[in-house]
């Protein structure tokens, strides 16, 4: 009963990828891959997605903890707000970021006058845009894990003299680690594919802000074949990294 829609769903997800593979210009592939702008965009994508994931972990895990563990008025509202970037069209998210962190933005203005920091059109801006769009995946995943975790272990740790921070670090975090990893991977994957917020907030310049999805989009304007090649590279890299992570984490105790 469930098998037919399951297979249809799988086909729906996998067939477009198959389309990419079938239409890939295999003969010119090596030459296209060797072009420096491909490697440049790939390197930039990997670095920014990874830094954005690190930033999301740093800010998102405590946020998930707050949502899952601390009872405060308006928590439901805050939880809903956290998921806003999930539903917001990324381009709109990029404009929103410009309005806040741009050169004339609410905070950006002050950042520039006080510290001389401008985020738009910088690699840091790419990281900010990617983290903005991808962090909710991490927060939701970690919050779910925290809610599912047995809080009695935290109580046991408290009776052993562990402070709230120690409990979190030595008991809670290790116990929800699978959720954190799953969330981080989703977050990383989303950041790697981020396009709309990035091009809107950080712009598009080779070497500093042109990530793979941006390169793919521009290549589509003139050279669809190059776009397919770039997409394949992105695909291959994510498969390799995600599969590698999986082996590492499944063998862990």
């Amino acid at each position: 009963m469930l098998l037919v829609p399951a297979l249809a769903g799988l086909a729906f997800l996998v067939l477009p990828l198959a389309g990419l593979l079938v239409r890939a210009p295999w003969s010119t592939l090596p030459a296209r891959l060797a072009e420096p702008y491909v490697l440049e965009a790939l390197r930039l994508s990997l670095v920014t997605a990874t830094v954005a994931t690190a930033m999301s972990l740093l800010l998102g895990v405590p946020l998930a903890w707050l949502l899952a563990r601390v009872d405060f008025p308006g928590r439901r509202l805050v939880r809903a707000l956290v998921t806003v970037p999930l539903v917001l069209p990324p381009v709109v998210g990029g404009v929103a970021l410009l309005l806040v962190l741009g050169r004339r933005g609410l905070i950006g203005q002050w950042l520039e006058s006080a510290f001389g920091i401008t985020l738009p059109f910088t690699t840091a801006g790419v990281v900010v845009a990617e983290a903005f769009v991808a962090m909710p995946f991490l927060v939701i995943s970690v919050e779910g894990a925290l809610r599912a975790a047995d809080r009695r272990y935290e109580e046991a740790a408290a009776t052993l003299g562990a402070s709230r921070w120690t409990v979190f670090r030595r008991v809670t975090l290790p116990m929800v680690m699978p959720g954190v990893v799953a969330g981080a991977v989703l977050c990383w994957a989303r950041a790697l594919g981020e396009f709309g917020a990035t091009i809107t907030f950080a712009g598009n310049f080779p070497g500093t802000t042109r990530t793979m999805p941006l390169a793919v989009y521009l290549a589509l304007e003139t050279e669809p074949e190059a776009a397919i090649v770039l997409s394949l590279v992105l695909l291959a890299v994510s498969v390799v990294i995600l599969a590698g992570l999986r082996d590492r984490w499944v063998s862990a105790p």
Partner: protein
């Protein structure tokens, strides 16, 4: 290390209000049916449940103002709650680490404690690799590792099978005897309570209904719950000399009493007859058989009549008497087998 506490916890449909005093070296068991509030009391002592009112004083120092992690307590939880991601050794070393010991120091302390509970060879094992009895001992070692002044045990043996339980119970008794601080343990098993505790505190519906030395409680139950636990028929009535009027039945006893009184006798003291016996013993009544079930090597017969009672008889007697539920029979108890005491 004397504990003096008054614990009041108010919940919408339930109020716990008990006073508890435990001397250094004493083991007090909180005994009571499910939902009586004994675990709540224990969690209140640990600081995991906030007091609505009252105080917890240990050696003159108030405890109730402190967070759980600041209280000098060690706690063994019902399912032990060993941290699944840490080895047995690191579970035990967790407390000392939190108290500021270096990693090496904490592990030395932990190793010594594991040795003491006989698990030196299981130090590297993860909790899921431990048997129930081993996990219980690791949990005890972990609680003792913080050198607590107050040891709290929540149903320490409930998760074990019957055989392991016997072994671990006597071992736990030995460790508790070695422990110098005050110990409070929660159980619903009378045998655990009798074996492990110096004093029983029976809680029903959030209040203490009876307390005293195990033998004293076992001999003089004061509620139906305690009577059932210790396996006695118990009646409350009014005494007039050697007679106690319990419900519609007048029971003759060997003790002299006046006023409100309890009468207790063991089910084995009840004799059953198909027809009114000759010589007419003094405590004799007609009863209807409400149920028959195995009870150890004997058969327990539930009797309804002027009083509700249990009678334990041998399987042979059941066959001889040809007992069936619904049947009406005669029951008797010798006055010398009853025990009356003031209510």
């Amino acid at each position: 290390m004397t504990l003096h506490a008054r614990l009041v916890v108010t919940r919408p449909a339930f109020t716990l209000d008990i006073a508890l005093d435990v001397r250094a070296g004493e083991v007090v068991a909180l005994l009571g049916p499910n939902g009586a509030g004994k675990t709540t009391a224990l969690r209140a002592l640990a600081g995991l449940v906030a007091l609505s009112k009252g105080e917890i004083v240990l050696d003159g120092h108030p405890l109730h103002t402190l967070a759980p992690e600041q209280r000098p307590i060690g706690m063994v939880f019902q399912n032990y709650l060993l941290f699944p991601h840490l080895s047995a050794l690191d579970n035990v070393a967790f407390g000392p680490r939190c108290q500021g010991a270096s990693k090496a120091e904490a592990r030395r302390t932990a190793a010594a404690l594991l040795e003491r509970v006989g698990l030196a060879d299981r130090a590297a094992a993860r909790p899921r690799q431990l048997s129930g009895g081993q996990a219980q001992r690791v949990a005890l070692a972990r609680a003792l590792a913080v050198r607590p002044e107050l040891l709290l045990l929540d149903e320490p043996l409930a998760a074990l099978d019957a055989h392991t339980r016997l072994e671990v119970r006597s071992e736990l008794r030995r460790h508790l005897a070695d422990f110098g601080g005050a110990t409070v343990l929660v159980t619903h098993d009378p045998l655990d309570a009798m074996v492990l505790a110096d004093r029983l505190v029976v809680i029903e519906n959030g209040a203490i209904v009876q307390q005293g030395a195990p033998a004293e409680v076992a001999r003089h139950p004061r509620t139906d719950y305690v009577a059932r636990l210790v396996g006695l028929n118990l009646y409350r009535g009014v005494a007039d000399g050697t007679r106690v009027k319990a419900g519609e039945l007048l029971l003759h006893t060997s003790e002299h009493l006046d006023g409100a009184a309890f009468v207790a006798f063991p089910p084995a003291a009840v004799a059953l007859y198909r027809s009114r016996p000759d010589g007419s013993p003094r405590n004799l009544w007609q009863a209807r058989i409400d149920g028959i079930e195995r009870h150890g090597d004997n058969v327990r017969v539930h009797l309804e009549g002027p009083v509700t009672a249990f009678a334990d008889i041998t399987p042979a007697a059941v066959a001889d008497l040809d007992l069936t539920p619904g049947q009406t029979i005669w029951a008797s108890v010798k006055a010398t087998e009853t025990h009356a005491y003031p209510a």
